[in-house]
Structure formats: C-alpha cells, structure tokens
Symmetry: C2
Subunit: 707 residues, 2 copies
Amino acid sequence: MPPPAQGKSPWAGGGTGITCYEVSLESFVSKRTLLPLLALLLALPVRADEGLWTFDNLPLDRMKAKYGFAPDAALLKRLQAATVRFSGGTGSFVSRDGLVLTNHHVGRGAIQQVSTAEKDYIRNGFVAATRAQEIPVSGMELMVLTATRNVTTEVLAAGKGLAEAEAAKARRNALSGLQKAEEERTGLTVQPLTLYRGGQYWLYGYRKFTDVRLVAAPEMKVASFGGDWDNFTYPRFDMDFSLFRIYVDGKPYRPEAWLPQATTPLANGNLVMVSGHPGTTFRQETAAQMAIARDAIWPGRIAAYLRRRAALAAFAATGPEAKRLATTARYGVENAIKRAEGMLMGLRKPGNLEKVAREEQALKARLGGDPVLASWDRIAEAAQRQKTLLPEAPLRENLGCALLGRTVTLLRLGTETRLPSEKRLPEYTEGALKATRDRYGNSAPVHLDLEQAQLAAGLREAQELLGAGHPAVQALLAGRTPEAAAQAAFQATGMADPVKRASYLAGGPALDQDSLVAFARVFEPLARAAQLRYQEQVQNVLDEHGGRIAEARFRLLGTSVYPDGTGTLRLTYGPVAGYPANGTLIQPFTTFYGLFDRAAGWGPEAEDGAWSLPKRWHERRSSLDLATPYDFAYACDTVGGNSGSPVVNVRGELVGLNFDSNIEAQAGYYIYDGTSKRSIAVDARAIRQVLTKIMDARHLVDELDGR
Amino acid sequence: MPPPAQGKSPWAGGGTGITCYEVSLESFVSKRTLLPLLALLLALPVRADEGLWTFDNLPLDRMKAKYGFAPDAALLKRLQAATVRFSGGTGSFVSRDGLVLTNHHVGRGAIQQVSTAEKDYIRNGFVAATRAQEIPVSGMELMVLTATRNVTTEVLAAGKGLAEAEAAKARRNALSGLQKAEEERTGLTVQPLTLYRGGQYWLYGYRKFTDVRLVAAPEMKVASFGGDWDNFTYPRFDMDFSLFRIYVDGKPYRPEAWLPQATTPLANGNLVMVSGHPGTTFRQETAAQMAIARDAIWPGRIAAYLRRRAALAAFAATGPEAKRLATTARYGVENAIKRAEGMLMGLRKPGNLEKVAREEQALKARLGGDPVLASWDRIAEAAQRQKTLLPEAPLRENLGCALLGRTVTLLRLGTETRLPSEKRLPEYTEGALKATRDRYGNSAPVHLDLEQAQLAAGLREAQELLGAGHPAVQALLAGRTPEAAAQAAFQATGMADPVKRASYLAGGPALDQDSLVAFARVFEPLARAAQLRYQEQVQNVLDEHGGRIAEARFRLLGTSVYPDGTGTLRLTYGPVAGYPANGTLIQPFTTFYGLFDRAAGWGPEAEDGAWSLPKRWHERRSSLDLATPYDFAYACDTVGGNSGSPVVNVRGELVGLNFDSNIEAQAGYYIYDGTSKRSIAVDARAIRQVLTKIMDARHLVDELDGR
C-alpha cells in the first residue's frame, strides 16, 4: 500500500498533473521523524486539544476532565466503521445504502474523469435522479479499516540480540512477513504501520471497494467559492461536498455503520470530533531541520510551484479543452503555494523557532549524557546536505511528469525485481511491489498534451537549477530546447493506453519503438543516482538519527502522547470556536446570508468571477433560509488528509464535513498553536438545504434521514 | 482656536473622560514636525494617492493623468462650503435646510449629553419626527471655513534681517497681529495656520454656529456593530451616522452649499474624494524618533490606556448609571488601545523603519554639507530625553482628570495672564487666551463621580511610574491612598457647576473653600515644572530642529508635496478598492446580507452581545433590500479627524460617510502603505434605506433628496 497522499496537498490533486509531487515532498522531508512537540516537555501543561490520536489510545480522561464527555467503545467502533479512506483524503458512510460523503475537492478528480466537454459536471454539478443514473468511476478505490493488530512484541522480538543495523533489517522483514501472513489469512489489504517511529508496530487491515459511483456534486463555483483567493481562509462560504456510492456485486453496499444526521442544532462552543487520515506532519523535526525548512526547503519549493503554475497557465491558454484539463492541476498548485506560504509564515513567526529550540534544550537536559544527544548534530549535518541537494529535486521527482514516472516504473519493474529485495529502491521491495504494480496498471485516463507540457516544464526547471552544463541536463536535452526534447519524448508513445501499457510490462516488442520509453531509458539512471544520493546522504541519516531521538522520547513518554500523522485513522476533538484575527474576533459560523454578501460585495465580474454564483443560486435564493449555518470553524487538530472527514457531535451524529483549515493553521504542520489554528467544515444543515432547495435532490436528503 | 482633536482618538472622545488625553498626546509627540515621507525622495515614483492635500494646492495634473478627472474650481468651492468642522471630526451639509451629516461616534458626546437614563438615545436611537422635536445640544459648536488668506509674504517679511530666534518671535507676532486684524475685519473666527512647518502661513476664517440640534441617530448597537472588537477592522457592518441641524436666529440655516445624493450607483474601482480635517500625523518624524515611538512611547501609552480601562471598568461596575456615564470614555480608551496597537504593528513591520532610514539617508545625501544635517542628531538626543521623561506624563496630563485640568486653567488664568505673553504657557498667550477661556466656560455637564474615579486612577498611575518616594507623589498623596486623596479633592467642589465656575473666575470668595481648587494649588506647580521640563528639553528641540529639516525639505520640494495634517481642511482621493489580507482579497463592499450573517454567525449572546441587533432590525428585515451596499473600503489617505467626512463621487455627489479605516491603516500615522491601507465609509444608499425602512424617517430622506 502506498503512503497516502495529503488531501488538497501539493503532492496530490486528483487524477492528473501534480500527483508527480507526491513523491517529491516525501523525498524533501523525512516522513519518519515523527513525534509531536507536545512530547518534548512533560513538565509543560498539555496544549488544548492538540493531538492526532489513534483510536486505541485516546486521551479519554483528559476529554472527560475538560468536556465532561469521552466517547465510549461503541461510539468509537461505529465511527471507525463509518470512516472511509480516499486516496489523499477521507469520507464517511452517511446512509445504510452505502452513500459516501466527502469533499468536492477530494472527489474532484473522479468528477472530472467522468465529465466531458459536453457534460461538464465540474462546472454544472451533477445529481443522479435515480440509482441507475449513478456514474461508475473507473479505477477509483475506497477502503475501510476493518481490523487492526498490534504486532510490536513480535516485531521487536525479531531484532532482539542483534546489532543495530541487523536488528532494523530483521524487524522490517518480520513486519513484512506478518503483513503477508495477515493478508493471506484475512483476504484484506493489509498495511504494515510503524507508529512512534518504532515505538509500536501495527497491521491495519482494510476492506477495499472498487465499484464506486458518482451520486451528486454541486457546481465547482460553490464548492470552492472564492477559488484560490479564499482557499485556506476563513470566514468562508464553500459548499465543498460530493456524494458517491459504493457498490458490491452490482448492488448498493450495506455498511457496518453509517453516520445519522444530527438531532440537535450545533452551536458555538459545542464539542465535536473528527475522524480521518491526517498525513505527514513535521512537528517532531529538530530546530536545525526547521531552520533549513524555513530558509531553503520551502522557499525552494514555492519557487518550483510558481514555475509549475506558469507552465500550466501557458498550457491552459492553448484552448478550452486544455483549460479544462489543466483545472485540477492548477487548483492543486495554487493550493500548494498558499499552504507553503502559510507554513513559512508559521516558521518565520517571531519566537516560534526559538520556542522549539528551547523545548529541544529541555529534552536534551533530561537525557543527560545519553549518546542520543549526538543524533541532533548528525541531523543538522544531513539537513545541510539536504539543502545542497535541492537543485537535484527535478531528477528525483520524474521531472514533474506523472507519465514519465510511470514509464520509469515500467523499466524498474524489469530491473529492480532482479535484485535481492533489500537492494531494491523502496517502492520495489517485496512488500511494496504489489502496490507499485497496481499504480502502474491504473486505468484512469491520461492526457498526453498535459503530460508533455509538464515534462517540458520539468526539463526547463532542471536546466535552471542545475545549469545547462550539468551532465544530466546535457544528456536529457541532447542539444535541444526543453520543449523540443519533451515533444520528441511524446512523439510516439503508447504509455497512455492501458492495453499497450500492460503489453509493455509483458515485454512486448513495441516497447523498443516507444519514444517515451526511449527518453526514460536516458532519464532513469540519472534519477536513480540522484535518488540514491539523497537516500544515503540525507534520508538514511534523518531516519536513523530521527529514529534514535524518537526512541529516546518514547522511552520517556510512551503513549501518553500521540504519534505524528501517518495517513492512517486518527481522532481529534475540540469545540466550535471563533478566533482572534484581522484585529477582531472571527465568527464561529458563517451563513447563507454571508454567501450572498460576499457575492454581492464583489459582484460577478471581479477576479474572473471568483465570487460569482451560478444562476440557479440567485433564482432560488428566496426559497432558502438564509440564517442557516453554512461553514463553521472549530479548534480541532486536523491537517491535510483530513479533507472530507466527518465532523460528529458527542452522540456520533454528523454535524459537518471537514474541508479545510485557516491560513493560521498551516503553521501546524510544524508548530501547533491552538489560539488561532482552526479547522473548517461545511455545516451538515447547509448540505441538506442545498440538496433540497438548489439541487432538486430531496431523495438524497430522505436517504440521509434513513427514510 | 485650540488644535482640533483627532476624531475617534485617544485624546478625544465626546464630552467626558479621556478628553484629558487630548493634551497628553500632543505633549508626547511633536506636532510641528510636519512633512510627508513622500517628500523625502523626489526621485521615487509618487505613491498611489497618498496625500492630505490643501484645497488650494491639489495635484490636479496627477489626478487627471491617473483617473482622467480632476475637480474644477466650482466643485471644490461647493465641497468646501458644504464641509463642516466638528470638534475632533468632520461633517457635511446634506440639505438646503442645514441638515448636517456626521458619524454617530462624532456626535455621540452630544447624543449622550441630551440623553437621560429614561430617554436613552444612545441605546434606542432617536428621530425627530418634526423640526420642533429636534433637540438643542448646549455648548455644541460647528464651524464652516468661509475664507482663507495666504499671509506668507507678510509673515516672512516680519522676520527678515533678524537673527533666528528674534525672527521666529517676529513672525509669531506678525501672524498673531494679522489674525486679530482679520477677526476684527471679518467678524469670523480666524485660525492662524502654519503649513509646511513655516513654508507657508495662512489665516483660516470660520463661521461659527452655536445652535445645533440633534435630528436623528440609529441605535448605538448598529452604529458601532461589533463594538470594540470590530473597531478599526474591515469587512465591517457599521451604520455609523447621526444627523444634526444648524439653526440661526431660531430658523434652520440655509447653507451656501450642500451635497446632493448620488445619481449613479457607486461601484468597485470608482474614484471618490474625501473632504475633511485630518489631524496630526507623524510621517515626517526621523528614523530615530520612530524607533523611540516604537520601543518606548507607544508601549508606554498602551500601558497607560490599560490602566485607564481597568479604572473605568471598576467605575462602571458600581451601578447602571455609572456604566452609562462611562460608556463614551470606555469606548474611547478601547479605540485608543487598538489604534496604538495598529501603529505599533506598522512601526514593527519588518523593513518599515529600515525604509524610513534609507529615505532619510538619501535626503541627507542631497543636502550635502548643509549644517541642517546636525539637526538629525539633536532630534535623536531629544527623543532619548523624551523617553526619560515618560514617567512624568501623568503630571503633564492633569492626572487624566478633565475637571482637574479645568481647575488648573482657572488658577493659571489668574497667574499666567500677569506674565508678559511670551513668558506664558502656550495656552495662555494672547492668541490662545480666548479659546482657553471658552473651554473653561463650556457648559457641557460634568459627572463628578466619573471625574473622581479618573483622578484616583491618575494618582495611582503617577505613584507607579514615579515611585512612592517621588516628591511630587508625596506632595499629592500626603500619606493617603490615591483613592482617599481623590475623595478629599472632590469632597466639596463647585467646579462642576457653570455658575460657580464663572464666579470663581471673577475671584469669588467661595474659591478658597473649594476642595478641588485646594488640590489644584498643590498640583499646578508640579505640573508646570514637568511641562516646562518637557517643553525645554524635548518639545523646543523637536520644534526647532524639526523645523530646520522641514525648511530644508521645503527648499528642495516646495508645494509639490502636501503638508502634514494640521486638523484643517484637506482633500484626499482614490478608488473604491478591496485589498489583500487574511490570506485572501477583502471585498470592497459589504451589504445588509453580511450584517445579518455576522449577527447570525455569532448569535445574540456572544461577547456581551457585540454582534446582536436591535429587535426592530430583525422585525423589519424582510422589508430591506439585503443586497444594498452597507459599508465600503477605498484607497484614500484619511486619518483621525476625517471621521464624518463626506465621501463624494466625481460629480461631488454624496456616496458615503467616512467613519474609520482598517487595522492596516493605523500604521499610516507614520508610514503610508497604499497596498493595504483603506478608509471605510457607510454607503449613502444604506443610510437612506435605514432611515426609510428601520427608523421611520422617510421625511428626512425626502429632505436629502431636496423634496
């Protein structure tokens, strides 16, 4: 199973485009250096409602003390069974007939995939009036976590008595073996999971669903009202939802549990809980790492995003179909830019890094003469090398072209599998091989023009970062411009065709005539060398010494703290709450009134109609109850991957749909600040009203109500 | 004529309370160090629409080039004649029968003055259904600028051939003589005015109106919707207006000009102009002064405001009548705190002071070996002394008690007038004497309990800042607590009674039995010493050397730039425009929709009902056109004193009522930043709708329409 993408993140974004960056971010930052800042100082008071808690280790006493409430086992079981895992996000069962609610931006790749220039469901929205009209989305897979097993004892036993390097290998092998056995035993898709950086090992077993159909989605204009401008901001007026249905054997699936609609109105101050799949956070990084992130990594990344945005804009300008194709990728890039700016804001906020450094000093003091203290220095050195290797990022990231990445996979499925598992690149080890093959085979449509434009942009970026005289650049361009080289690579390729792609894997003779395969044969060894350099000089050091620090922390703190995000199921909780910003207090709820205020305040023309509403919203306005809450803010600890998470009240009833967090929250990838970090949800009452009054989907509201 | 107070400023605030601080701010900062940053570098491009321009010297060519429009002489004449000067703010004639429109917060002191516990017009609003019901406001004075005369040649001639100190005195005397002659000649109230710090001298002649009556005001809840929280912020939903009428000889006054309602709807991007009385700005301060302002003056001032706020809250808690009395003062203090924080934000913004320093260096370079260069060093030294003298602020500021200030005036009217004019404190020189006597005689009601509470707070502050062992503190307290000393001072005083006050001035025998007079006799010499210390060691140096720098600048730049704010008539212009903030673009207009959104988003209970609406607003909601613009933002260069200014379109028609600026604008007292500095107005269309649909004042809308 691949590491889950971040919802609405630079490294996810639906079916096309910047999914290339999923790899890139993971190589830019250590994803295994995981423990919260909270863990640093037992002596400090626990920060309010911080935490990405696993369901097996919730701070129930703390909740009870603060809110007079803690969820019981039955509620937690129901919540877990009702939570659905999307690629890069979350969803939830909201009816007994397998209706799944998620964000529009999580479902957007699927909606776009089933759209055409004539039937543009992104633009116009969609409602299946009957189940027969629900549209299957090919290649879409959803998963539900049905079994978890703590295998810490077995895995640790495997390494016992061995030297450190041997022990690590033995533990990996043991975990991999346990995973295989569990898959065979249960028939589930089993994910081996390391929590607390080796403090705990788990197997997470998922039931996978592959017949997923689009049921309903509002117009993109209202789903992301305010567009890139309002993204990551609040007060907000986004109707960011979509509905899918899972089918099994051609029939609507009856889930083990589903979330009923709230029976009491949600109010300011009410406690809510969010169940979902928060992705990578960097709260455990050392102060030295954060300083490099602030001064080099994120500024470099933003520069890369800006190049990519320019390339996509140029592509989109070539015609209406190109514009439509580029939409999702452009949205993803804008999103990435703003998120990165939010993170930088947090890293640069006076006092923040100083605080991290102080807490680090305090932890070090508690560790006395422990040899682990040297690990901080090793990490600081690796972070410096990480900065030095930044210009090689395009080589490590398939030049930002997803189809080139797939072609590289094709070549490596041939070469890497001939090596012993421990010598392979990570994606080709025995445990990862199946997922890699599945990704290669994914039949979602590929748009060659867009892929070619992205390859050209990636080549130009490599040229700028490495210099025209760099051997890799010379080999790739061979005297041509980036655009000409990309054109040659896409001149005659079958890689977009699932049938041809499958035949290539079987070693079909056409392989040698494919222009993209030819390009990839030049590219792959250059990429491999860059990836290995990064792996050895940066990632391995960060993993090893980050692991040692984490181990020392786990020794001191154990499960009294939460493990950093791993894209797996977590629960977070906190009250509905405004927050101080912009010189005032920001309101906890927005309403339909505010939606029309913002639309009228800007008018339909401003900023390419960013705040314009579809015609029917104006026509049907008088039928709406304008005081109905639309979006709301709450003090939960969500991050990317929580997109589409259900927000439930203390009875486990659905009150909202998490879709974003405010600009202040972006700093939370590194540093949690409860005073102004807020999650943002669509209010469930607003979804009901929109389905009824705007989308003519009364039948879906009846279904939500269990009628 | 006294220097005008700043509208909505720490040193104004209606009839009571923190008006004490009017003096204080003027003594904290040099008010004669006036020239804009813009002036510093002729080589730099002119910053967009910066400028507090005098009507005689508008940048018409620049406006024409940028907007294809510049006001003609007729429009300017009409605008000047229609602009009304309030104490601490601005208003405008909006009907042929002398109806004057200003802000609720400018008229609030008057509204409060005519209110009682039973007829609480602050809380409930007020409309005079007939002219007979219009309520006279005793002591209220409004002025209209009817004649201006440039007397630069005469004043400069008076100093010709004399040594510097003698020349300054000769110029002052000449200006004072010209003022007297002009008053006798015209019968007007004549203000001698120094622009460009001595580059120009003017006489401004005002017609003064003393029969002013309250016509209409909405509920305070809607006038300052969002209260202290939303003050100085945007997007905003304030219906911050009030209407007065000027009477002459018992009949409605027919003004020379009045502003008609707009005939075309105002839209985003439209050019608007604002006519009003911007007060002191500090844009001309040296980098060294701004650094002291950032590091000592404003932090010290904020600490003083916080003490005062605590004292007022304690007073307000003593009963409902005390709470009512303290309202205006508390509002003023909150306002002052937020404004100070905004200024500090601007001063602390990375790069801002560095830019000032760079521009200063460039100006110095242009001045070559000019002896004026030494003035920067003298100012830096004086700023350091200013910091040292900060703890004496309470002594210089009548201990924050307005009635003590008046009692000091009483004593000084006796003593100072025996000295030759040039040896007197500034307020007692021949030119200023009449205004000082007028202020002493002002018959607005005085609330003894509130004054006593403020004196106690001021004594406690002096004790904290100077230390209990300081001779002044020991003399004032004489072994008592601050509260006991204040109680003794207010034990038996007639100073609140206009009749007794007048008799005291005539030297009536009761004077010697008055407890507050007795206290003032101890206080006055201490205050005088502190004031003289500050005057000699700080103010005179800032004036002298600030003047020399200003003179050098005026030599280089002349009237190609605007003079800093002097509380006199200015015009500023710019487009209706949103701005970047909070991670997004902020909408240019808000609407009634948004008002109800914010009310519903918070609910009626939150933050003491800060965002609750009066009952009739809910009851009559369905009669409103909710898409009507409510408030709007525009890129004009307004500051305190512009409160209540008319906002007009290019035809000179009323489109809005300036009432505030955003939090980003507060930095504009020091540093102009056109990207995010925005003025905020109530939209004239909203006022019409509220008068008609909520306030049952159709007759006033008819009057506005000239019917």
